[in-house]
């Protein structure tokens, strides 16, 4: 792919996409389980082989800052554990029994039957089995054969199934928005970022339904149609959800290229949002001024470390498109770091790539524009980071040892998978998010003792 912008050089597609080492996401089923677990009170019921749930725990949950699956996830997940018998004769009876016992044994507000590759191939009529339980519990079925896509696709399918099977039109509440595009267990800082954004928006009088990480998960889901606007924080993921909600409930939507990191992006985000929600600009400016003052006052504390320890370093980013845009723009536009290369790992669709390239070239204020590479294969990422000069590497924990080999390079895990840090409510979002990011980068290099 070649950019229209002459300043950004973009390296082409991998030649052998069918072979991939350590991709930066799980399958569609993984994304759907993640989303179910992110919406508290939802019990995922897996209609799949036993390995699917286990792989989610080891691959997706641990990979997202060493998080466990929670009370309904991990090894507590109900699963039909399909074996050959069910492949040949069908697994509908087993699923029926599993749903029955899960409703009896697992407390939950919503049961999400997530079916994987096996029932998709053998043609189990999962929907009709799920329908039998509609009277007994809130239950939905999500058809996520693993092979139909990655975690991002699974996230979208979860919500698309919810829209089809659960949501009913509601009167629109003024100043209420839904936030999409932050995939739990895939976006490392999903818990923290959503909390921060909700708080920031509250100051503007906007009631943000973040759906995830709140105890009233089902109520949040059911209230999706009550929103005045849907906001998608990703250059591509979650757009389908917003389009579907627009078709079904007439809710318009606003997309933002990623979770905003630091004062500039957050101010921009608030101004755009306020424009769409007809909030007076003076009110927004007032809050921006107040927040920026705090953020920039605190950034002064890191001034000496920044100038003496690691002044204007070249940096490389290996991350999903949303995180990459947020982090790169903050470091380049607000800290004066020099972007060397940005490797986008979430395999965005072709039609979204021009916008991502625009965000990472035109919207970078530095005269240095990064090389933009779309690559999900860990081996090829390793090769593409060779013969480059950078002092900071913001990537996944898979790149940790590349940085170690380079000697002085600082490595920080900011993208999936990150097995080398525990992430609970850490957040790089909002006005103060940039401070957190600088804290994490500079703590790695600040002094030997």
């Amino acid at each position: 792919m070649t950019s229209n912008n002459s300043e950004a050089s973009v390296i082409s597609e991998p030649k052998y996409p069918e072979v991939m080492e350590a991709p930066r996401y799980s399958c569609a089923l993984g994304g759907a389980i993640s989303t179910a677990l992110g919406i508290f009170g939802t019990v995922p019921i897996l209609h799949s082989g036993a390995g699917c749930g286990q792989a989610h725990l080891n691959g997706q949950a641990y990979g997202c800052g060493e998080n466990a699956g929670g009370p309904q996830g991990g090894t507590s997940t109900p699963c039909s554990c399909l074996v050959e018998e069910h492949v040949i004769f069908g697994g509908e009876n087993k699923l029926r029994n599993l749903i029955q016992s899960s409703i009896e044994l697992m407390d939950g507000d919503l049961y999400a039957v997530i079916s994987g590759c096996v029932p998709a191939l053998t043609g189990d009529d999962v929907e009709s089995v799920v329908k039998e339980f509609k009277e007994k519990a809130n239950i939905i079925s999500i058809k996520t054969a693993g092979f139909i896509g990655n975690s991002y696709k699974g996230y979208e399918l979860f919500f698309l199934s919810t829209i089809d099977q659960l949501l009913k039109p509601l009167p629109v509440k003024k100043g209420r928005i839904n936030i999409f595009g932050v995939v739990p267990y895939q976006h490392l800082f999903w818990k923290g970022d959503l909390k921060v954004l909700k708080g920031t928006l509250q100051r503007l009088g906007i009631e943000a339904n973040i759906i995830l990480r709140e105890f009233n998960g089902l109520a949040n889901l059911l209230e999706i149609p009550a929103a005045e606007l849907n906001v998608v924080l990703s250059p591509w993921n979650g757009h389908e959800i917003a389009k579907s909600l627009q078709e079904k409930f007439g809710t318009s939507y606003l997309t933002f290229p990623g979770v905003p990191v630091g004062p500039k992006q957050t101010s921009n985000f608030l101004l755009q949002l306020a424009g769409r929600l007809n909030i007076p600009e003076e009110k927004v400016q007032e809050i921006i001024e107040e927040e920026e003052r705090i953020a920039y006052r605190f950034i002064e504390y890191l001034g000496d470390v920044h100038i003496l320890g690691l002044p204007h370093p070249y940096f490389a980013v290996v991350a999903d498109s949303g995180t990459a845009i947020g982090v790169t723009q903050f470091l380049a536009n607000e800290m004066g770091y020099l972007p060397e290369t940005v490797i986008i790992t979430d395999n965005p669709p072709q039609e979204a790539r021009a916008e991502i390239i625009h965000q990472l070239s035109v919207n970078i204020e530095s005269i240095f524009k990064p090389d933009i590479i779309f690559e999900s294969d860990s081996h090829k990422i390793r090769l593409k980071l060779r013969d480059r000069s950078f002092l900071v590497l913001l990537a996944s924990s898979l790149e940790k040892f590349i940085a170690a080999d380079l000697g002085a390079t600082v490595h920080l895990s900011v993208s999936f998978p990150s097995f080398d840090r525990l992430i609970l409510e850490r957040s790089y979002a909002g006005f103060g998010g940039g401070l957190n990011l600088m804290e994490d980068i500079l703590s790695k290099t600040v002094a030997p003792l």
Partner: protein, 352 residues
């Protein structure tokens, strides 16, 4: 030095003589087999694995069972494995009764005993049915794979050591499961039962595609089309033309016959129910040809458009034929068997 060489020399001389005797012995057997008009069980040194495919309802189970019956009469130990979820391949070998299938036993979850899945039928023929799921549920293709793997695991073939195994397989080769018998290490020779109907020949063409694919990895090769339900010369012509176009051969033609229908109603093969009938003799001839047919090759399946064009080329001729037929309707009907005497020589000439 010489002391060492002597015993070695004498050993090698003995070995050469031994080889000579073995070769002579074998050559005699082969000569016997070539001369013999009938079969000599002793000459079969290896199990003959034959797969018979065909579109559903085309008569492949009837044909397979009659071939099995004919071969068992000749003294062969035959095993017939029905690879169809309907599991009715071996019915006519077992008095019209269904036998418990391999997958039924697997589903029960209990330990599987050999005698529970291998059942003796007419004249000692070993009958096995792979079975499968209920219609519209599960994956029948995977069922066939599992059943055949189970037969291998349980060493069923070794235990019964049949001379000939006939796999009777549902024939559209719609997925990998139904191609299982033509993959490496199962059958070596494949026949297809086909009428002159376009859909039946379409299924045969699909089978050819399957064979072509697996032929590269040591899979089964094709040995001939068995034309079934042949009523009129034009039916035969259509199949012959299809064979010419797909570079395949014809193993034989079997006419439609009431004798077969009667026998099936009794739950028997024609060979068992009416052993002296012309039709029974016809099946015996077909069985003989199949067992003596060593020809194996990769056919040339037609592409979808080619197949359509070929079928259209027959359209006008069939129309003309139907017109003639209407004129002849007033004339008394001839016995179909009179026209169809097997022509082994002409059929043989086509075999490469």
């Amino acid at each position: 030095m010489r002391l060492y060489l002597r015993p070695i020399l004498s050993l090698s001389v003995r070995a050469i003589f031994a080889c000579f005797f073995i070769n002579k012995y074998q050559a005699d057997y082969y000569r016997l087999s070539l001369k013999s008009a009938h079969f000599e069980v002793a000459i079969v040194t290896k199990i003959r694995n034959i797969a018979i495919y065909g579109k559903g309802g085309i008569g492949k189970s009837t044909t397979s069972s009659n071939i099995s019956a004919a071969l068992s009469e000749e003294g062969y130990k035959v095993m017939q494995i029905g690879c169809d979820p309907k599991s009715d391949s071996t019915n006519t070998l077992r008095g019209g009764r269904f036998v418990p299938t391999v997958l039924d036993k697997l589903r029960s979850g209990k330990r599987i005993e050999t005698n529970e899945i291998v059942h003796e039928g007419f004249n000692g023929i070993l009958c096995v049915e792979t079975g499968g799921p209920e219609p519209g549920v599960g994956c029948a293709g995977r069922g066939i794979i599992t059943a055949i793997e189970l037969l291998k695991q349980k060493k069923i073939i070794e235990e019964f050591s049949p001379d000939i195994i006939i796999y009777d397989v549902l024939g559209d080769v719609v997925c990998g499961g139904f191609a299982m018998p033509i993959r490496e290490g199962v059958a070596e020779q494949v026949y297809t039962v086909s009428s002159s109907d376009f859909m039946s020949l379409y299924a045969s063409n699909n089978l050819f595609k399957g064979i072509k694919k697996y032929s590269k990895s040591g899979g089964a090769l094709f040995s001939g089309i068995i034309g079934n339900s042949i009523n009129l010369p034009i039916n035969e012509e259509i199949i012959q033309d299809f064979a010419a176009n797909t570079k395949s051969t014809i193993a034989g033609f079997v006419p439609r016959s009431l004798t077969v229908a009667k026998a099936e109603l009794q739950g028997k093969t024609t060979i068992e129910a009416d052993p002296d009938s012309d039709q029974a003799e016809l099946y015996r001839n077909l069985a003989r040809k199949i067992i003596s047919n060593e020809s194996r090759y990769v056919p040339a399946p037609l592409g979808t458009d080619e197949l359509k064009a070929w079928a259209e080329s027959w359209y006008d001729r069939l129309l003309q034929h139907n017109k003639n037929q209407e004129q002849q309707d007033t004339e008394p009907v001839k016995s179909d068997l009179k026209y169809y005497e097997l022509k082994p020589d002409s059929a043989k000439a086509k075999v490469k």
